[in-house]
Subunit: 304 residues, 2 copies
């Protein structure tokens, strides 16, 4: 099952995809379910079961291009993000990271948009190195504390794509990433939550980031330093994971620049191979077997 | 005006303090105001004005000891925290920090409790260095973007105390603080929001942290490397600050251990002078002219 969070003329709802373009609107067929996906997940297994039953064998009510998509979970209580979790990305950044404990930071909900929504590129007077990071997002279903690795995947409601858009100059302002990972509408999360029964083994899949159709980052999801199970278990030593929490598993390595491309033409490149996003670009994050998250890059024209 | 967020038999409400122990319950005298303080702040200046008018010259309905206090803002959209922002704290940690840009990380709402509520000490099998950090919390009233320093204080709804409780071993697991600053109910935020007209000049005040009545940290609020104005202006270059957002301004320096005290007796001390909190302790953060945030330390007895 694939679920989307959408707005139809401003009203939020959750939809169950009937095919690749149309979905069954749960507010119509299951009006007693919560309007938000986090609320549905908070009902426990019954939430997704009721969504599935309500949508089963129905024709789609709406198409994706008739609504605006929100981030898969618009209001998570925590968005945990991993830094330097793919071996090739560690090599290309030339940064050190602990081999024993994952490197984790937080994003806030205001820093993310949904599929097809504009991601905001900072004004060049503020920053020029606005970079994509295509990642696997894990969405928690069942909460819990002190979760052993062998039980961790039973707490996962589903998976999605995450573009962990980063403003490198601000990320490097000081030791903690802080604002550099939390610019307004700088990241994206979608297009949908795919349940584990449909996605299958995440480690058999590949994530690819493309800018204007050119492959720029690619990694097999079995190249992670810390697995999904390890990260869930680690977080739960100190924190009770909650339904709707998001864990973005970190970016893979970048691909080399293409013949004829030089770092200079993209501006001051901060991570080898990662070129910056600019207004007018289109960025996509594809995870095989899951889907593709696409976003246009638009200038943040907030008056300075 | 001082405002508290409370629960009375489970029902949330906001109260206006009538004296140091009693408050006027807004759900009773202004039932059309939002139930949460963030909602009241989202009404703009009218929100606090209506709260003030509704409570004016009324006798208190409830005493603090009749309710449980929530964090001043239970559901902020962002809790921005400063690391290494007091000159003495920088010296004592022997860590470097940028002189040009503040060092900022995030906490999640689940990591905070209210005044008089238990703060949870991790099981010693998980961590032993659970440390207080007494700080000034700034609460945003009016949102905005690209805010010049000279206008920054006009965006502040009020001030409070913050105990930015930290689990040092986890904080040091890797480069980003991550989980070490976000253990379940490890920090505290209260007792109330005091409006700027009542608090006056924040830089004329002093923050003191006490453990079991012994002064352990103290700093004048004019010892900050980055002022409130600078931090609000900095954040707003990338992020539209929102009503109810919290900025915790960083911890001051620790006081030396007392004669006869040795680091050994407190366990493996991570920051010179900062002794660890243990179940049975009582920790307080006092800001002169504002109030005192008190919390008992209770063992986190979640089954491992």
């Amino acid at each position: 099952m694939r679920l989307v969070s959408y707005r139809d003329r401003g009203a939020p709802g959750v939809g169950v995809m009937a095919d690749d373009t149309g979905f069954v609107a749960l507010p119509k067929v299951a009006p007693d379910l919560p309007r938000g996906l986090r609320g549905i997940l908070e009902l426990g297994e019954a939430g997704l079961r009721r969504a599935r039953a309500a949508a089963e064998s129905r024709a789609p009510d709406l198409r994706l291009d008739q609504v605006s998509l929100d981030p898969v979970i618009p209001d998570p209580q925590a968005i945990w993000c991993l830094a330097l979790n793919f071996k090739r990305h560690i090599e290309e950044t030339r940064l050190s990271t602990s081999p024993d404990h994952p490197q984790i930071f937080l994003r806030i909900p205001a820093s993310q948009v949904g599929h097809n929504q504009p991601m905001l590129c900072p004004d060049p007077k503020i920053a020029r190195a606005y970079d994509y990071e295509g990642e696997l997002a894990v969405i928690i279903g069942r909460g819990g504390r002190h979760i052993p690795e062998r039980e961790a995947l039973s707490h996962v409601a589903g998976y999605s794509c995450y573009n962990e858009g980063s403003v490198r100059e601000f990320q490097a302002h000081n030791r903690q990433f802080g604002l550099g990972k939390n610019f307004e509408r700088s990241g994206s999360f979608g297009p949908w939550l795919m349940t584990p029964d449909e996605f299958g083994d995440p480690y058999a899949q590949t994530v690819t980031t493309r800018l204007n159709g050119v492959d720029r980052q690619r990694g097999a999801l079995d190249d992670m330093l810390f697995t999904i199970e390890k990260v869930i278990s680690y977080l739960s030593t100190g924190y009770a994971i909650r339904p709707g929490d998001v864990i973005s598993m970190g970016a893979p390595g970048a691909l080399p620049l293409r013949p004829g491309e030089t770092a200079e033409q993209f501006g001051p490149i901060k991570v080898a191979g990662v070129v910056h996003m600019k207004p007018g670009d289109v960025v996509s994050v594809e995870i095989t077997g899951l889907g593709t998250l696409v976003n246009p890059i638009v200038a943040d024209d907030t008056a300075i």
